[in-house]
C-alpha cells in the first residue's frame, strides 16, 4: 500500500529553493573558468539532472551530457560539492557547487573528454578471447562460474571511481601529461570482468600487472562513490590479485601474499620484519638504516613468536590456501 518514501541521499524539506553554482568554461573563448549561479524551486525527489534540464529549459546554454537518464549509460557524471556522482541518480542538495568530473580534460562546461580513458581500456583488450571456438547457442555455462563476471557487468563506466582514486590524483598532479602509470579502478573492472569469464584465454593477470594494479592502496574510495554499487575493490581488484598469485607467482604482489600467508601459518600473527625479509629478500636490506632505528625503539621483532594453539590455525591453512 502507498507509504511515505523519503529521498535517500540528502534530506531536503523543499521549503528553500535549490541553489547551484555551476562551472562554466569554453576553452575556445574563455581565458579561465567562471561560476554561474542558478536557483530553482525544489521538485519532489529532484535529481541533479532535473535541475540541469530545467536550467536549459529556461534558456541557458549550459553544456552537460546525459542520455538514458536512469543510471545505465554512465554519461552524466559530474562533481557535486566535491563528490563524483551520476546526475540522474543523485539527489540535489540545497546548496550545490557543480563541476565537471574531476581530473578529466574539459570539453566545455560540464562535458568531459573520455578519449584518454577509452584508449587505456582498449589497451587491455576488453573483449572475449576464446580458448576454444564457439560451439553454438546456447553454450554450456553455469551461473556459479559466471557469478563474478556477472557482478561486474553492472559497471556502466561512469568514471566516478577514476575521478576519486587518490593514486590517480597523485600521479596526475605529478606528471605533465594526462597519462598515469596506474591505470585506475575503472579499466581494471573491465579487465577483471573478462578475466573472470571462464571462456577467456588471455593472461589477464599479466595485463593487470602491466596496468600497475599493485599501486592500488585498497582505500575503498572507489567503492564509496560507485553509483551502481559495484564492489570494485573486493570483486574486481582483489580477485585479480588472486589470479596474479596463481598466474604470476614471481611478482612482488604474489610473493607478498605468499609470504604473509606463510608467516601466518607459521606463527599465527604476522611480524612485519619477517614479512619484508621474506617478500623482498636481499632487496630488503635497503631498509636497514630505518630498521635499525626502529629496532632501537622496540618495533622490530627478530625472533619467532607463535600464538598458543597454532596447530588449530594450521589445520585451516593447509586446507584453504590457494597457491599450494
Amino acid at each position: 500500500m502507498p507509504s511515505q518514501v523519503t529521498v535517500s541521499n540528502g534530506s531536503i524539506d523543499g521549503s528553500r529553493p535549490i541553489r547551484a553554482r555551476i562551472f562554466r568554461f569554453d576553452p575556445t573563448r574563455d581565458r579561465e573558468p567562471r561560476y554561474e549561479t542558478f536557483e530553482l524551486p525544489y521538485e519532489k525527489g529532484m535529481r541533479i539532472l532535473c535541475f540541469l534540464e530545467r536550467i536549459r529549459e529556461q534558456g541557458s546554454d549550459l553544456a552537460f551530457m546525459s542520455s538514458c537518464g536512469m543510471a545505465k549509460c554512465g554519461t552524466c557524471s559530474v562533481s557535486m560539492n566535491g563528490r563524483p556522482v551520476l546526475s540522474c541518480l543523485e539527489s540535489v542538495e540545497e546548496d550545490m557547487v557543480i563541476e565537471p568530473l574531476a581530473f578529466f580534460p574539459v570539453i566545455r562546461d560540464l562535458v568531459i573528454d573520455r578519449t584518454g580513458y577509452n584508449a587505456t581500456v582498449t589497451a587491455l583488450k576488453p573483449y572475449l578471447h576464446r580458448s576454444e571456438p564457439y560451439k553454438g547457442y546456447p553454450e554450456k555455462l553455469r551461473h556459479h562460474e559466471m557469478r563474478d563476471h556477472a557482478s561486474l557487468m553492472e559497471c556502466v563506466e561512469c568514471l566516478c571511481c577514476q575521478s576519486i582514486c587518490p593514486v590517480l590524483d597523485l600521479e596526475r598532479r605529478e606528471k605533465t601529461s594526462s597519462q598515469t602509470e596506474f591505470i585506475g579502478p575503472a579499466p581494471l573492472v573491465q579487465l577483471a570482468k573478462l578475466a573472470f569469464d571462464p571462456r577467456d584465454s588471455l593472461n589477464r593477470a599479466a595485463l593487470a600487472l602491466r596496468a600497475m594494479i599493485e599501486k592500488c592502496v585498497s582505500c575503498y574510495e572507489c567503492v564509496h562513490v560507485c553509483p551502481v554499487e559495484v564492489s570494485i575493490l573486493e570483486c574486481a581488484l582483489d580477485r585479480m590479485r588472486e589470479k596474479i598469485t596463481i598466474a604470476e607467482p614471481d611478482s612482488i604482489l604474489a610473493r607478498h601474499i605468499a609470504a604473509f600467508t606463510d608467516i601466518l601459518e607459521d606463527e599465527g600473527l604476522v611480524n612485519p620484519t619477517a614479512l619484508i625479509l621474506k617478500t623482498k629478500g636481499l632487496a630488503a636490506l635497503g631498509k636497514l638504516p630505518l630498521a635499525i632505528k626502529m629496532f632501537r625503539r622496540g618495533k622490530v621483532k627478530l625472533r619467532k613468536e607463535r600464538i598458543p594453539n597454532i596447530n588449530r590455525i594450521r589445520r585451516l591453512t593447509t586446507q584453504w590456501v590457494r597457491s599450494r
Partner: protein, 588 residues
Amino acid sequence: MSQTARITSTKSRFGLQEAVNDHLSTDVLVVGGGVAGMYTAINVDRLGLSVLLVVKGLLGKSGVSPQAGIFTFPPEYTPETFDQMVKDRIAGYAYFICDQELVRKSHELSPRALGDLEDLGLYFRRYDDGSLVIASMGGIQGGEMKQPWGTLATKWGNSGRNTCSVLRSEIVRRGVKFIENATITSVLVKDGEAKGIVALDYLNGKLLTITAKSVILATGPGASIWTYYSGSSENTGDGHAVALRAGAELSSMEMVQWHMACLAWPYSLRRQEAYPFPLPPSQQAPRFFIGRQERFMPDAEVGSKALQANAVAQAIIKGAVNRRGGYYASYQHFSTKDLKEFLGPFLMLKRLGYDLSKDTIECAMSIYSIYGGIRVNTECETKIKGLYAAGGAAGPIIPGLYMSLATGIIAAESAGNRARAIELPDLDLEQAEREKARVLNLLKVRTANESSYSPMQIKKILREVMWEKMDFIKTETGMKECLERLRAIRLEMLPKMRVRSDTTRFNVEWLDAVELLNMFDLAEVVIASSLMRKESRGPFRRADFPAIDDKNWLVFILARMQNSSITLDTAPIELKYAKPSDRFEWKH
C-alpha cells in the same frame, strides 16, 4: 571550490584522419550508435566493405538501446509454437499494424543473432545447473495463452546496456571507424537515389558531408517529442525527419506505445519503469493498485504493454487515476533475494529510498516508443534507392532488441549488396551547400533588445503541447488543437529562435535547433496520422472512436512530405501469418 589546472580537450574524432574540407566517403554509412547501428556496422565490416558509423552521443552509451531490458526469445520451440508466438506478437503487440513478414523474419533470425552476441561474450543469465533463465511473457490474454513464450536477459532491465557494451568492444576491436558527437541533418537524394548525408559535428562546430553508396538510418524510434518519455533525450526522431524530407515514406506513425508504469517522480526518472513484467524465477509480476486496496489489472500484469495500457486507460476513463500518477506498483510479494538478483532497477529504487518489502511505488505513464517508422520492406529498403532503415527507426514493427539485431543483419546485407554493385556516387555539391547553409542559419545569436527563444525553450513547449493534447486517449478536437498550436509555434516562435552562443565547441543549442526542426516534422506526421485513424486499436486510443474497426482500418497509414507539407495515404496490410480471427475476444 577551485579546480586544479585542467588540460583542455583537443578531442576531434576518434579513429579517423582529418577529413579534407570536412568531406568523407565510405561504402556504407550507418547513422546511429545503438544496438541496431553498431550491429549493422559490424556486419558490414565483416563483409569487407568500408563502413562509417555516425553517433549523436557516445558510442555504446547513447540512444535507447542501453535502456532495453530483455530479449524476446522462444524457449525450445517447434514450428507450431514458433508460429503461435509470431501470431501472438502480431496480434497482441502490433495489433496487426505491422509488416508480418518482417516480424516473422526478425524472430527467425533471433537464434543467429543471440548466438553471435554470445560468441562475442555476452552472458545470458543461467541458473547454477546451466539452464537458461527465462521469464514467461504472457501474451495477448495475459497469461491465459497456452504457450507462453519467454524473455531472457543478462539481468531483467539491463540487457540493452550489456549488449551495447559487447558490441562497442567489437567495434573497437575491429577498428570500425566512428564519429561521435555528430548528428545527421539531411540525407542527400538525387534522382531517387541516396548519395550521402550532411551531418553537424557539434563537438567541433563543423558541417560534414559524407558520400556513401548506402545510407542506413538506425536513429531510434523518436519518442522524445512528449514531455515524459523513456529512451534517451537524444531520441528526437532525426532519421524519421530526414527520411521524410528526402522523399521517403513514414508508416503508421500514429501507433505510439506507452509505458503504463514508470516512476511518477522525479521528473527525470519518469523514464524508469517500475518494471511491470514477470521476473524469474517466480514468474510473478509486480501488482498494481489504485489507492490502498484495489488491484486493478490482475490479468494485464503479466500481459503485453498494450494490454496494460488498455487497463490503465479504463481506469483513467473511470476517473480512478490519471496519467500523472495515483496508482502504485508493489513488489511486496517477492523475496528481496530474487529482486536483488534479477530486477535491474532494484538499485535505483533503493537509492530513491524505497524498501520494496514495505513500500509501493507511485506510477505514471510515459511514452515508450513509436511502433511506426521509416517504411521498409523485408530487406530493410526504403523506396529511395540506397536508403535503408534499421532498428527502432524502421517501421511499422514491434521494437525490441531482437528487432534491432535482426535488422542489423538484414540491412547490412542489403546495403552491402548494393555497395558491391555500384561505384561511389557523386554528390550534388550545390545541394550539400544549400543544406549546410540551412543548418548554419540556425545559429543566430540573440541580441540585447529583441525578444527571443532558445531552441530548448521551444522544444519544451513543443513537448508540453504534445503531452497535453496528444494524450493517451485522444479526441479529434484535441488533436486538431495540437496541430494548430504546433503550426502557430512554428510560425511565431521559430523565427525568433536565437542561441546565446555561436561557439564552435560542443554547442548544445545548435544541436537543439537541428533536433527541434526534426521534432516539428515528426510531431506533425504523428498527429496527422492519428487524426486519420478513426478507431481505437491496442495502444492507439480515441475517445471519439473507442471501438476497433478492422473493416476499415486494417491498413497502414503512410505519410510523405511534398513541398513541405504532409500528405497521407493508406496501404493494405498483408495478413500472411495472423488474422484478426486469431485474436481472442477483445477485452475493452
